[in-house]
Symmetry: C2
Subunit: 236 residues, 2 copies
Amino acid sequence: MLKILKIRFLNSPNVSLNEIKNYKLKTVLKLLDLQISIKEKGSLNINLNDFGIREGISEVIVTTISLQKIPNAAPIGIIRRNNKTFCKVFKNSHTYDNIKATKLLVANIVYDPILFVQSAFTDLDSAEFKKLPDIKIPILKNANAWILFFCEYKEKSKAMIVDLNPLNAKFITPSIRAVNRGFNAVIEATIYGTRYKVFKNKKCFDWIDYYNKIVIKCGNSKDKKAMEMLYDFLKV
Amino acid sequence: MLKILKIRFLNSPNVSLNEIKNYKLKTVLKLLDLQISIKEKGSLNINLNDFGIREGISEVIVTTISLQKIPNAAPIGIIRRNNKTFCKVFKNSHTYDNIKATKLLVANIVYDPILFVQSAFTDLDSAEFKKLPDIKIPILKNANAWILFFCEYKEKSKAMIVDLNPLNAKFITPSIRAVNRGFNAVIEATIYGTRYKVFKNKKCFDWIDYYNKIVIKCGNSKDKKAMEMLYDFLKV
């Protein structure tokens, strides 16, 4: 029976969560090779607020893994609206391929401006990832919290819309930081940087320069380093 | 002896912290009517990082009190640079008058966009303040952390530069929130709003509209409510 289900799952990447819900939870998790020690179904009642994902769009770094076990990290906006949690993942990205392959992603809540810039433009160093014994997808070493999601996706012409169903989560570091406009400006500049990479619109640089002024005025040394890296990534 | 010092302090608002440091700490705190139960001098070794105030500029809401015990709240940027912690407070503000009168302020670490907008343009409702038994200055009820500072100020033509010396601090709520561009945009829009109030430059409205688009896209219902209030405050 398990073997049949396993073959069925591996051969049907579009099997829906509703369909899976008909199976016993433990069976599904075993199929997914998650090896989560879930004692009862109640463990899936995860309040996303407690892990930093609230109403609106949460900017997180998503970690995924390929079938060849190669980890990937990319900044993604996770949308919570009308009791739904979802994200949009563009084609021609590792995140897209990995979600198709594994139907899993981890949303890492981080406040490191360098990680946002690096993961937007290049591969993170393997030392930035951390393998946990109980979940298949590596998290980011410096995550303050993480949430493992089961992904149900619908393909659109240029992207997939991914419905996110929490499977496991942890709030690691109870730290506090006041609003810093410099850090926030790095996030905005990174978005304009990724737009520049796609659309080659020189106006993006005006915006990046605008935000860089805020970083110089309000940011800390890490924010400033992140901006230097951003400018480097955008060099022709 | 105490009486003499007390009279001296009350009559010398410009007495410096260095001068005060020559007195015994308990004596000074008694003079300041702080009634903090400090067991030893080590209690003043407060690591501001632990309470959310880090390198760069931290956007906080500062609470102060007048000699007539009327509380006030205002958004202020607290600067940490080269091992100094200070802020700039403009003349013709309650914060300015209150710091002159009491030499004390509380930096409240908050993530409530409505509090940022309200405290920038009007008086907060008294229900937003909370009196703690051990400190003279009320904190904000919804603060996630607060730091009480002793203020040493130098007057400039339009403002005072206030050197901040931590006296007491508390990290109240160990919550976590992912980066939300909507919330961040409310902060930026509020800054343009306060600039508009001072300089009446209509261009500020273009910026506020720009940030409002980000709030509509990324923010939560509180961020959107805060923007509505901001537009209301700026109506002629």
